[in-house]
Amino acid sequence: MSKNILAITILLFFSSTLQAEEFKLKKIVNLTKPWGSSFINENELIITEKKVK
């Protein structure tokens, strides 16, 4: 497999915020070359990352 898979419990580690007119963007977690994601329940998002060579 050329992608690793991890599950991230969301709403953790808010570390930076960018503000625009009507919304805000918050970084939740740093990742390494993520590609795809999918919610498996309301609290967890699974993510694929590309393998680091």
Partner: protein, 266 residues
Amino acid sequence: MWISYSEDRGDWKTSTSIAKANFNRKNLSFKNIFQANPPIDSGYHFGSRLVIKDNYLYASAGERGEGMIAQDPSKHPGSIIRIYLDGSIPKDNPKFINKKKWLPEIYQIGVRNPQGLTLSPYDGKIYASNHGAKGGDWFGEIKKGENYGWKILGWGGTNYSGTKIGPKWKPGFTKAIQYWVPSIAASAITIYKGNEFKEWEGLALITSLKDMSLRTLDFSNLNNVQENIIFKKKIGRIRDIQIHPITGKIYFLTQDALWLMEKIND
């Protein structure tokens, strides 16, 4: 769970492949259920997006930089795939209707590098985004047995060298809903449904790599598609987008992080 990935097929050749595993938190044991053939010695254009609708799995298989291979229905690269969730082949795919020369897994041909694929919760249709060459990205509906035209059509773009490819569109080919010239490098897409951004209900959300933007598309009237840039160059190159199933808040994968988008008054 299902995963689309670039598979090492040996001799420097790779393919867009799909594998399946029973989900657990300790040890995922994947088994292939599809390989795009032939494998190709190229690092380009895998597509590699999945959508589940009922018992069907739709997948995008990029043309791997091979251009006209997307017009060859005896080869998978450059097509949209439809198989059952166990990898078996639906007997109502185009091959079994009126496209006898098509490989049995192929649902639509003529795509280049579709890096966005989504199921609309409103009309039950599958939509894709696709990278053109130098210009010619698009957003459009996936249509059974049809042909998006690559590399007969250039979708408004040119080769990277600047040489012409072909017309933007002509009769006989699927017409996209929206084109971008110059390219924005359209990536993940979704059709918004949720509470957080109620004003976007039913709109397509289009993310991009090079343009680093989030755009909304109101395509309820195909003769008057309305596009809005929500933000640009705030979080970097955007690879994926998800809508929280309860809150409607938006999550983005960028090249190096997971981001949350929510209303300021939350």
